[in-house]
Symmetry: C2
Subunit: 399 residues, 2 copies
Amino acid sequence: MTDETYKKFFSDDVGSFFRSPVRDIFKKVDLNAIFSFAGGYPPADAFPMEEIRQITGEVIDKYGAKCFQYGATQGVTELRQAIADRYSENIERVQITSSSQQGIDVCTRILVNPGDVVLTSNPSYLGALQSFSSYRADIVGVSHSNVLHTYEQSWRLAIEQCLKKQKHIKFLYMIPDFQNPSGETLTLEERKLLVNLAREYDFLIIEDSPYRELRYEGEAVPTMYSLAPDRVLHLGSFSKIFAPGFRLGWILGAPELLDKIYVCKQSLDLCPPIMDQYIAAEFMASGRIDRNIERNISLYRHKRDILLGLLKQYMPEEVIWTHPEGGLFLYLTLPEGFDSVAFYDKALTAGVAYVAGSFFRTDKQGKNTMRLNFSFMKEERMEPGIKLLSTLIKEQLNA
Amino acid sequence: MTDETYKKFFSDDVGSFFRSPVRDIFKKVDLNAIFSFAGGYPPADAFPMEEIRQITGEVIDKYGAKCFQYGATQGVTELRQAIADRYSENIERVQITSSSQQGIDVCTRILVNPGDVVLTSNPSYLGALQSFSSYRADIVGVSHSNVLHTYEQSWRLAIEQCLKKQKHIKFLYMIPDFQNPSGETLTLEERKLLVNLAREYDFLIIEDSPYRELRYEGEAVPTMYSLAPDRVLHLGSFSKIFAPGFRLGWILGAPELLDKIYVCKQSLDLCPPIMDQYIAAEFMASGRIDRNIERNISLYRHKRDILLGLLKQYMPEEVIWTHPEGGLFLYLTLPEGFDSVAFYDKALTAGVAYVAGSFFRTDKQGKNTMRLNFSFMKEERMEPGIKLLSTLIKEQLNA
């Protein structure tokens, strides 16, 4: 059968699937062979390898065959309880997911009909945009940097426009801490504003929080979930504080919402991987996770500082960038007219990778932006990498 | 907010979600405290615990940080290759899934619009019915035991009725080997017939094959996939031949179909768990999986024979059952009028569990049937379990 023959079998959703350009980059190149500021990967030395090996032995001893058996759809009790404790929450408000990406996907699945509005910031996390689009949501991205309006006005305008079109706004998706890709953090006032808008216009909020514990300076800001626990679904992840290979995350939320997620997850994949959950639970219970987070904070803070220093040293004056207080990314803005998508092939051929900022947007804007990751690359490779990228950018600007 | 307040947020799909009565049974009772013929669980002694512990150490040594890093959406190459080799297939036709249940779900997702027809046998696997229903498929179950028509006539009648209603039949879902729940196996002629119907009426086939390698007698029948590799998506699972806790499965199929599954899986959960995949790959590459399957075959064949003997010894004459050549289940048919759903509470209170056969059906029939599992229970508990169940059934029949 040909490609054409299969077309008639596909569901309407398939027409709205789009590929991750980031994942496609990773398929094509060996990230260790180039200067890669592209991915959101932890570096190899961030993983507590020996501890994991040891804990794996411990959990097989402790739980025996339970490690390899089917388990509860909500996740194993030990892990749910450890997460509940970390938030001072009730275990009934915790669902374990087979990755935080699954958290985004399953929330969208239970909430969005084709044409329903999902509000988000512009830029926003690519994997979330993929998921929203795959359910044919009407994704409405709101830009922060609108000089004509205040932060509040920008959101109100976007919301009012949706209502004028008689659209049902189902939820607002935000990464309030050290956003991917911008690296920016919402202030408490901004969080309160968004929660109040959700109450006023009666929509839910999905607070995606994979980087929250990786803060390198400043004070932690309360989660949006803590401001409105019945209206906010809070997504957490082990990917940046333990290891992404385990594909484990969690959802905190109202039991009425979690109940639908529970039934959905029965048919999605029955339950998250069991031994991995026990390993994560043991990692938390023993307090080893806190030492690991501290270690990662030192590691990443140092790399962030190096990157900030190198950008100052090598980038042309016209280029500006964000100063992230945590997380894995910063966001570069080049002069108007610079096309970071078109520029990408040249950069990759020369041996340096980034992700074009426009990939993170719902509009066609942001061509003059790029996301740089500072967690993955080896320290000693950062200077030649930024030197190369800066030289290429200068050449392009002077061309 | 109240339950009622949340209702307006839910997608239309949620209205078609239904809970697994099997999973709900497991939430309520400790399976080790009763005589449970209910689940489809392997017994604790089926897991190669020491081997897994050893292999885990080996893969951490061999692959290092790769075990804990993000990985390819299609699955790690070593595992895809091992599965490709097992089927003498090209690696491009293999997608690793985060459980075989995910295989069912993602295939349905890319194929089914609300109202599209999914054909299946009556009875059929409950987790598949949950998934089809969650996408609002029109599930058309075809009974084998229709005395008025041949096997072929039954299928043709069902198909023609769908076409008369101008329904789009997207696929046929079957478990050809040692079906869950019936324990029955399709003959080669039946497989060829279904494949030819798929060609004639232009629909796809999802061949769900989690038990295929657990054959206790007779000759293996070719897969439907081997009869029509471009029209059949073949689903495999590590749950019954290794350990369900790893939540790993695979899909074999045409690259045109796998490509959509690949893009969908990017937004579903990015990639399957990595260390678990390396463990499974190592378990296969070293040949240990074949020794494990042999060991499990001996274990389960023995238990099946015990169960068949006990049923013959204790069940009233009016009760009949299937003789499975493999897998984990057999299917009991009681006299017309017996209600195994209503009877269930009495049985559970007395200390014995099964799954009511009507849960596996799309019509309201089959109330006089039940599924019995013979893999999970300890050998020495099978006789008192069946004795108890038989006594209760006799009492009920004589009441």
